[in-house]
Amino acid sequence: MTRFLLRRLGGALFVLLALSVVVYAAFYVAPGNVAQIACGPRCSPAQVAQVSDQLRLGDPLYVQYAHFLQGIFVGHDYSTGTGILHCQAPCLGRSYQDDQQVTQMILTKLPATASLAIGAFVLWILLGVGTGLLSVWRRGRATERILTGLTLAGMATPVFVVGLLLIIVFCSALQLLPFPDYVPLTENPEQWAWNLLLPWVSLALVSAAPYARMTRSSMLETLAEDHVRTFRAYGVSERGLVGRHALRGALGPVIALGALDIGSMFGGAVLTESLFNIPGVGRELVDAVKNVDLPVVVGLVLVTGFFVVLANAVADILQAMADRRVVLS
């Protein structure tokens, strides 16, 4: 276990470094005159040059990258004009566009994204697995067909359509819920949940289908296995067979897929975040990409990468715990 964790940690460092290199490379080929964007469209060439100097954009790529690495391990000093500001290690740099430290920025954006991701994840797993379970339990009946159709419909509808419809129905027409507006958990847990309800539901509706289908197919496989026959022969009811024995077997693939999804969810669900006004990582990332704001992009991608690795490692541990035959490697 310790060995496994250590190796995963090493793997994570590799992933993060590789990610930052890829983003640096993509950044340098992508269009967008950074200094001009930072300075404003009507800045004079002289001013643009000054801004470029200040952002050290003139240095060769590898120098900039080394500078970035140095920031992570040692920190950086920045001029704010009136004084010098120290950005402490691990310093992911400072936004090109305004004077925010990336580390700080990420820390403020992360809770919102985490709230959205985790809540939606729980809900869509419940919805997906529940639907899969129900369709297996009622297999061959109308219920199964209806459920299959519904999950596919969810999958075929873009999240912004689902989200907007939910807002119109629940906030405008029925007035059952407030218009979503992010409230931090630490501020007011009840409001937090209340405001996140619709985004959670929207994401769950569009993301549940793969889980439903996977749950269903692995449950059907499990139901064909011999041990299910054992319990049937001992008078265990159909509900018990499906809910206890078949379901447990379906967890493996659900965990694997779930790890993939929750990890990338930490990269932010852009459309959902902007539709429901959740000040999260995704929206920030889109803005940063649009503004060619490299430090912010790298910072956010690294955070995502970290969570992807983390989620996968947790999934591996969970799978090994759920199925002792699986050995961590």
Partner: protein, 558 residues
């Protein structure tokens, strides 16, 4: 009223029109009595047993006739009535102990779950009951082991756990479907003794389904012989086995290998194509050495989870010779076999083949040797790709060799199929369309297609009924004689090994405890473990079985 009354039972799987798997079967079983159902593979034994609990319901199988079990009309009962019967009044022990338990839950929890279905006991009480029955079937340290999951149990323990589950609700009827097929003789003997003991202690009725006549002889009062879904003969076990009236029964009995019989003839089964005469007696170790293993070793896992599966094994296989390997489940037989053909990398020791050291060659470097070292796998189901026709599978080594063109390959494969006793026209059929014995022959044909020098046969007959077993062993012997192959024959059945081997090695916990010429080892075993193994072999004679059982009891008590 009897405990079980079955009359005119018919079962067909392909709709009412299809061929009947079971056809007009009738029998009764009284409380406290034991009925053995024997017959070749596919004769409808399991299908009949399932029908007693209504397990065909919802599968599309058609079940006809009347079935009464413990007062319940199984055919007419509602789903709820059936659930009340299952487990509580009539319990079933399934054939394969590994796949019959849920891998995800602790054994104790699974037993407790079944108990709670029928008794509404509290969780706690149910757990206590689970520990109690596990203890009863002889699981040591039952309270602790009840928290283990099935894969942490050995095969014998799993089988006992299944029996414990059956006992949890104190059923009036126990249906045991091939409860010992996968087990080595010592564990088999333990289980049969346990069933015998329980029957006498609780007055439970026992329906024992098996293809092993020896097992039936040991454990039941009456026996029913089946063939192709019909009854061939039935009656008290001593009568049927002692003086069989029907030719089929006689044939069945004659095919049973005897551990006390010297290796004289390869049990020439009458229906083997081109049945062979007695092979010329050979001097063991007379041929030139083909494969030589010295201090072969294999470990799995690391740290605390480390298992030493094979621990310093040295052996030699000569050209034209059969080396038998016996040993209990988990003793490292398969691991050793796989290392001999280099499907596994040895962790230590050396392996010489025809003068070359092949123990540490890379996959690429091994390729020239691949076709000369072949293996027939233990599980005929898993060893054939279900998605490819059997002809294609057999053709693989020929194609890999790349010498023959497509038509020549096809005709060569058909030749091989014929050689192993299969209809060559079934080239394009898929594995699931073959019976277990036939699949095993396909595996042999594939091994032969490669033109090997040595074949490792890993339990090639343990899943087969005696008649098929005899066919397969005869076939191997014949091929060996003709082609001068070296054979390694792995089995847990001592009688079969004796029948086919020139020399035998007895394995235990990764080591070879005894090795020598067959007659010497069987006639005068040196190692106590070998002695124990030989004592556990079931006898065909019920009277002898009783004596032996008593002897084993004494041995255990001592």
């Amino acid at each position: 009223m009897s405990l079980v009354e079955v009359s005119d039972l018919t079962i067909s799987f392909d709709g009412a029109a299809g061929a009947r798997a079971v056809d007009g079967l009738s029998f009764t079983l009284e409380a406290g009595a034991a009925l053995g159902v024997v017959g070749e593979s596919g004769s409808g034994k399991s299908a009949s047993a399932y029908a007693l609990l209504g397990l065909h319901r919802g599968t599309g199988a058609t079940v006809g006739g009347s079935i009464r079990v413990a007062g319940v009309d199984v055919q007419a009962a509602t789903d709820a009535e059936l659930r009340a019967l299952r487990g509580a009044r009539a319990a079933m022990v399934f054939q394969d102990p590994l796949s019959s338990l849920d891998p995800y839950y602790a054994v104790g929890d699974q037993i407790a779950e079944v108990y709670r279905v029928h008794t509404r006991a509290s969780r706690r009480a149910a757990r206590a009951r689970a520990v109690e029955v596990l203890d009863r079937v002889g699981i040591p340290d039952a309270a602790r082991r009840s928290r283990s999951r099935p894969h942490e149990f050995s095969g014998g323990m799993r089988q006992r756990a299944l029996i414990a589950m059956a006992l949890a609700c104190e059923p009036q009827l126990l249906i045991a479907d091939e409860p010992t097929t996968a087990l080595d003789v010592t564990v088999q003997a333990q289980i049969l003794d346990l069933l015998h003991h329980l029957r006498h202690e609780t007055g439970m009725g026992l329906l024992l389904v098996t293809h092993d006549v020896g097992v039936a002889a040991e454990s039941v009062d009456d026996v029913l012989v089946m063939q192709s879904g019909r009854e061939v003969e039935s009656g008290p076990v001593a009568d049927v086995l002692g003086a069989p009236r029907r030719p089929y029964t006689r044939e069945l009995l004659s095919a049973v290998p005897r551990v006390d019989a010297k290796r004289a003839t390869p049990a020439a089964a009458p229906d083997v194509k081109g049945a062979v005469p007695v092979p010329a007696p050979r001097v063991a170790g007379g041929g030139e050495p083909l494969l030589e293993a010295v201090g072969l070793r294999r470990e799995f896992g690391r740290g605390s989870g480390r298992v030493i599966a094979v621990d310093g094994v040295s052996l030699t296989v000569h050209r034209g010779e059969t080396l038998g390997i016996v040993g209990e489940s988990g003793s490292g037989k398969t691991t050793l076999g796989r290392m001999l053909v280099r499907l596994l990398d040895p962790t230590g020791g050396s392996l010489r083949y025809g003068g070359a050291e092949i123990g540490s060659l890379s996959d690429k470097a091994l390729r020239p040797y691949r076709r000369e070292l072949q293996m027939v796998f233990q599980d005929p189901v898993a060893s054939l790709n279900p998605r490819r026709s059997i002809g294609e599978s057999v053709a693989d080594p020929l194609r890999a060799a790349g010498v023959l063109d497509d038509t020549r390959i096809r005709s060569r494969v058909q030749e091989l199929l014929e050689r192993v006793g299969l209809d060559p026209d079934r080239y394009d059929r898929y594995p699931h369309e073959f019976s277990g014995g036939q699949r095993q022959r396909v595996g042999i044909a594939r091994a032969l297609a490669a033109g090997p020098e040595l074949i490792v046969c890993d339990e090639p007959v343990s899943a087969l009924d005696v008649t098929t077993q005899a066919q397969v062993t005869a076939l191997l012997a014949e091929l060996q004689r003709e082609l001068g192959l070296g054979l390694v024959f792995i089995a847990h059945d001592l009688a079969v090994v004796r029948q086919v081997s020139d020399r035998v090695a007895v394995m235990r916990q990764g080591r070879i405890v005894e090795q020598g010429r067959v007659d010497e080892v069987y006639g005068a075993p040196q190692d106590p473990y070998t002695k124990q193994l030989l004592a556990a072999v079931p006898a065909l004679d019920p009277a002898l079985a009783t004596v032996r059982r008593a002897a084993r009891k004494e041995l255990a008590a001592a």
